[in-house]
């Protein structure tokens, strides 16, 4: 594995321009002062209650995601390129979904194999022929981006179902501005605070036709025990919309209502943070108590908009991921601006043979996994783990893809032995409404706090950083 690209330091001792002011400031600031603010940040997070739950962890059901006070900085020019690439990618994702649930031209053109769609559990036949307002399926996308050099942005993963993390983008900024006003005075950092406004505008713009001029939007949460519950309540608050649970909603004559102290009130758009499987016990899992019986028939009748739409999983599935460059070209006739990580599809015998021969160098992921669970990081794994994985792969090759171990870029990070480079990724949030696609300049930077570690997932010891786009 090549040495990682460091976003602050150029080999040889120079600094990249975006980091020059930060470096000066760090020189002036004693380490104790940094440590003190780090503790203060932790206190603030705990008091605000920004916690997440780790499933299967009985010790502490609410944990803080570690926050690193050193910001991750990108120049305006870098951002402009990234922004363009993200919009292109999300446009293609939406067109792909529209096509899969309607004409299926991409299948007829044999760009994506049929069975990858029709035998995929996240494909939703209920969505066949279903019209969604303005053909928007993915209203909120979280695209995971990594860098390996100065030029390229690489998409690690598309999140087109119910991506989370945007509350950290907003709260990290809030806390940084409280703790380091002097540092902000020395930089021109593009603001992120209009995200909630843009989200609400996007959600309202896709209201069904029968909705009133002021459509009612609600955020559907699985409830307080969900790992992202804090984010759900945070967003509902910032958007000024009701935070509803399944039991607060009722479907009558194919319209959706919420139970209020003044009786039933119609809902037009649901920003749902409940997975497809749990949305409607009459259509999907009958044992779901999180959903709303009849929701899907109201959806089919065109009386409610769900954001994101049902069935978007087919676009961010890891098996589909490797086709994304072709998907972009097919629908837009453009070269993809953002690259893909080279991916071996273990379902293809040639690829499988290569993967089995090179397990110790590769990252192998479950096609349907998320959160960094169930993956093999070859270079970091023991022999026994690799062998165990080899068996799994042989048994069920179609369940896996493999990628080279990427040398994710590094950023300076507070560690017990002072500032040190740690690997990072970035999740910007892309909003699509009836008329436009927008992205607030920034996103959630996740950082692998352990030295040498490449796993940034919060469920596995990752932390977060504030992400600064300089407004030059």
């Amino acid at each position: 594995m090549a040495a990682a690209f460091d976003e602050m330091n150029i080999p040889g001792g120079d600094l990249r321009p975006a980091y020059q002011e930060l470096a000066r400031w760090l020189k002036e600031t004693p380490p104790e002062a940094l440590e003190y603010r780090r503790q203060e940040a932790e206190l603030l997070f705990r008091r605000i209650g920004i916690t997440f739950a780790v499933y299967g962890d009985s010790e502490s059901t609410e944990r803080l995601i570690p926050f690193d006070v050193i910001p991750r900085i990108m120049s305006g020019k870098e951002w402009a390129l990234l922004e363009k690439g993200l919009k292109q990618r999300v446009r293609a994702l939406n067109m792909f979904l529209r096509d899969i649930y309607h004409g299926r031209e991409i299948l007829r053109a044999e760009i994506v194999p049929d069975d990858l769609i029709f035998q995929n559990p996240v494909f939703r036949p209920e969505m066949n022929g279903q019209q969604v307002p303005h053909d928007v399926y993915v209203h909120i996308a979280g695209i995971d981006i990594v860098r390996v050099d100065a030029e390229d942005f690489i998409v690690l993963e598309d999140n087109a179902r119910t991506p989370s993390g945007v509350s950290y983008m907003l709260e990290n900024r809030e806390i940084m501005m409280r703790l380091f006003p002097d540092l902000f005075a020395r930089h021109k950092v593009a603001p992120v605070e209009r995200y909630p406004d843009e989200l609400l505008a996007a959600l309202r713009s896709v209201a069904p036709q029968g909705a009133s001029g002021e459509p009612t939007v609600a955020l559907l949460t699985p409830g307080v025990y969900n790992s992202a519950y804090y984010e759900h309540s945070f967003l509902a608050d910032k958007l000024g919309i009701e935070l509803v649970e399944g039991r607060d909603l009722i479907v009558k004559n194919n319209e959706v209502f919420m139970r209020t102290t003044e009786g039933l009130k119609r809902v037009d758009v649901i920003y749902r943070r409940v997975d497809d499987d749990f949305l409607d016990p009459l259509t999907f899992r009958p044992d779901s108590v999180l959903g709303v019986p009849g929701l899907m028939s109201a959806y089919a009748a065109g009386n409610i908009t769900l954001a994101n739409a049902v069935g978007t999983g087919i676009a961010d599935d890891k098996a589909i991921y490797s086709y994304m460059p072709d998907i972009v070209k097919f629908y837009l006739g453009e070269e993809p601006i953002l690259k893909n990580v080279p991916t071996w599809r273990c379902r293809e015998p040639k690829d499988l043979a290569y993967v089995l021969d090179n397990l110790s160098e590769l990252v192998v992921k479950e096609v349907h996994g998320s959160g960094g669970y169930g993956m093999l990081i070859g270079p970091a794994a023991t022999k026994a783990t690799i062998e165990a994985f080899r068996d799994k792969l042989k048994r069920e090759p179609e369940g896996f893809i493999a990628q080279p171990t990427l040398a994710l870029s590094t950023c300076p990070t507070c560690t017990e032995s002072g500032l040190a480079p740690r690997h990072v990724d970035l999740r910007p949030f892309v909003l699509t409404g009836s008329k436009s696609t927008t992205i607030v300049p920034g996103g959630l930077t996740r950082v692998a706090l352990k030295e040498g570690s490449l796993v940034v997932n919060s469920s596995q010891g990752g932390g977060t950083k504030d992400t600064w786009i300089l407004d030059e």
């Binding site: 608050d237 139970r259 102290t261």
Partner: protein, 314 residues
Amino acid sequence: MLSRTAENLYWLARYVERAEYLARTIDATLRVTALPAAYIGKTNEWDSALLTAGVAAGFYQAYEEANEHNVVEYLSFSPNNPSSIRNCIEAARLNSRSVRTALTSEMWDTINSAWIELQAVWSKGTSTREDLAKFLRFVQETSLRFDGSAYRTMLRNDAYWFSRMGVHLERADNTARILDVKYHVLLPEEEHVGGPLDFYQWSSILRSVSALTAYHWVYRETLKPWLIADLLILNDTLPRSLASCYGNLVRNLDQIGVAYGRQGPAQRHARGIRNRLEHSNMNDIFQHGVHEFIQEFITDNSRLGEIITKQYLI
């Protein structure tokens, strides 16, 4: 607003109020039991504390004897007592989490900080009297902070009114329960069978509703049991009196009625109770029987809770 949100706000306020009331009850009982037996007679004050908290039945399933150690443990920390102080704070936090969007950040901060302190400092209970005093102060201060934050930071809309209704309904219940347990020491002069011994009982009652100083301001008299009953039942200047609670409940329900453009059974029922309190005097109440009066009130009060739930919260 969502019915579930209103329900959570209402119960959140009730839990906080109940926690404070329990802390006051323990505090007052500690004081009175610290006196030599000659001053308080033979009654078991810890048993009375359980009765006023309405948890005696559950207690005696778990313990044999109502003594300081057992009762403090049961009322403050026991996970098996659904309305122990600890469970009240836990339930308040859970309710807060479900309605974060309806709370101001100050209210959330109060409950969340209290919950954090409960786990960090009080997870093992208290071992000394000094510790216990600190704990009780912590609970009372949490309630004061919560109440103050609500008063100072909430928008005056239905969210606020539902929250206040929880406070007043719970408060009325608590005051009525003290009266229910202690009515026998609050009889008028001619019927009174006790003696100077009861002085400490009386001051203890007043202390548990934080009205000892208020009594002197209102009556400018030494402690007289019938005046204490008058203060706790009919005097609407005392925030914890039944009359004051019902003045507020009627007002909150009217505000909701106006905002929603519609009145209902809850408004009528609350007004009925308020009118009865307004048109009563202590002579009539004593004639009728204090005990009967109070028991009737407790039933009416919990009936109002049910009506509010049916009309707004489900």
